[in-house]
Symmetry: C2
Subunit: 229 residues, 2 copies
């Protein structure tokens, strides 16, 4: 049972090339847990005792300060989250809560650090993952500082559409209020931003977004490889 679930994460880039021994010592102390919706898994400021991996469901990473809250990212299966804190043994900078029901694997971070020291392939994979996440953070900062909220939405939609195979219509993967927070705006303004994109061929019906011609929207959004990947 546990073994089956554990096997699911073997294919993760993080573990793909490591030795069986290394994988065994990584997962020996692992927990698998199911969580109900809207459960706070992690609270910012706590010690990073575990590396978390989402097997099913999705997890929202968010941060708070002074009674304000913002969505930092959403994590989908199968991927790990809060690797940096675990690897350098520092407190989490973000909190995490489940969106729907979730199955999560938790690897004790001391095991992660131990295997990092002994398995070269794992070390390489961790570096690749960290460098990748770092660059995602830089992209995000550029997005926030260089673009208006409507431009951020437009580029987000273009990225979504591409992820979904360039179909002219696709579903938003999460609630609009959460999208708004992720994009750094209020739900009210997200609604208005969608309206502002109508002239560029964007139509919304509930969770479904239609984009007629990508050209019009792209001319407005000016997507950039160095921000949007």
């Amino acid at each position: 049972m546990i073994a089956e679930r554990i096997a699911e994460i073997r294919k993760l880039a993080l573990f793909a090339d490591i030795s069986d021994d290394a994988f065994k010592s990584l997962t020996r102390g692992a927990y698998i847990q199911n969580f109900p919706p809207h459960t706070e898994l992690i609270t910012q400021g706590e010690a990073a005792d575990f590396l978390h991996i989402v097997i099913s469901g999705s997890v929202e990473l968010f941060s708070t300060w002074n009674d304000r809250e913002t969505t930092m990212a959403t994590v989908w299966p199968v991927s790990s989250f809060i690797l940096a804190a675990a690897i350098i043994d520092q407190p989490y900078l973000m909190s995490a809560r489940t969106s729907g029901k979730c199955r999560i694997i938790m690897l004790p971070s001391q095991d992660v650090r131990a295997v990092f020291d002994t398995d070269t392939e794992f070390a390489r994979a961790i570096v690749a993952e960290l460098a990748d996440h770092y660059r995602a953070g830089i992209r995000n900062t550029k997005n926030l500082k260089l673009r208006t909220s409507t431009e951020r939405l437009a580029n987000y939609l273009i990225r979504c559409r591409r992820t979904k195979g360039d179909h002219p219509s696709f579903e938003l993967r999460y609630e609009k209020r959460r999208l708004a927070s992720y994009l750094g705006m209020t739900p009210e303004n997200l609604s208005r931003a969608f309206n502002a994109l109508k002239p560029y061929g964007v139509r919304v019906e509930g969770q479904r977004v239609h984009i007629q011609t990508l050209d019009d929207l792209a001319a407005f959004a000016k997507p950039d490889r160095l921000i949007d990947g």
Copy 2:
């Protein structure tokens, strides 16, 4: 001559614990160059052929999009910059220009990757550095999304003051226009933000900042370990 300069970087956390052999192969292909002020060292989008290290002077990391520009960070001696791009062989996401006159060491990034594969200590140091930078990016995003511009300034000043040994008065390390861009505001609004902090005991004379009582300012700024370090 070159050997002397190279020795200066040996003490960097990145190289402190690596073997002499590893250090030798890292620096064998190194260049040392002096640059005049306001020289663009790196342009975003280019291949990351070198890991750069500032020996003297300071370097501004900035990004542009659609005729807009923002300061992402300022790098002081002795430290490296744009490690992530070099280690995973990806294009730079940021541009870099010298502030004053600068001396820069450039290590071919293929050497960095090669030594990473052979020297465990170096791998460990790189991971620590990357994780650290990643977390700095998260902090920065929280700062931008959760705080107003005046709050960002207030917390910046508190951090500065602490860095300078908690003296009631210290010098800003760079021009106000650059500080404004770093904090995500215009020079005009930085000026107004300084005025808005007067009631909390902040006084500015040119580059010099006086902070009478930290308590008043801190009550307004609400500095947070998970944002301000």
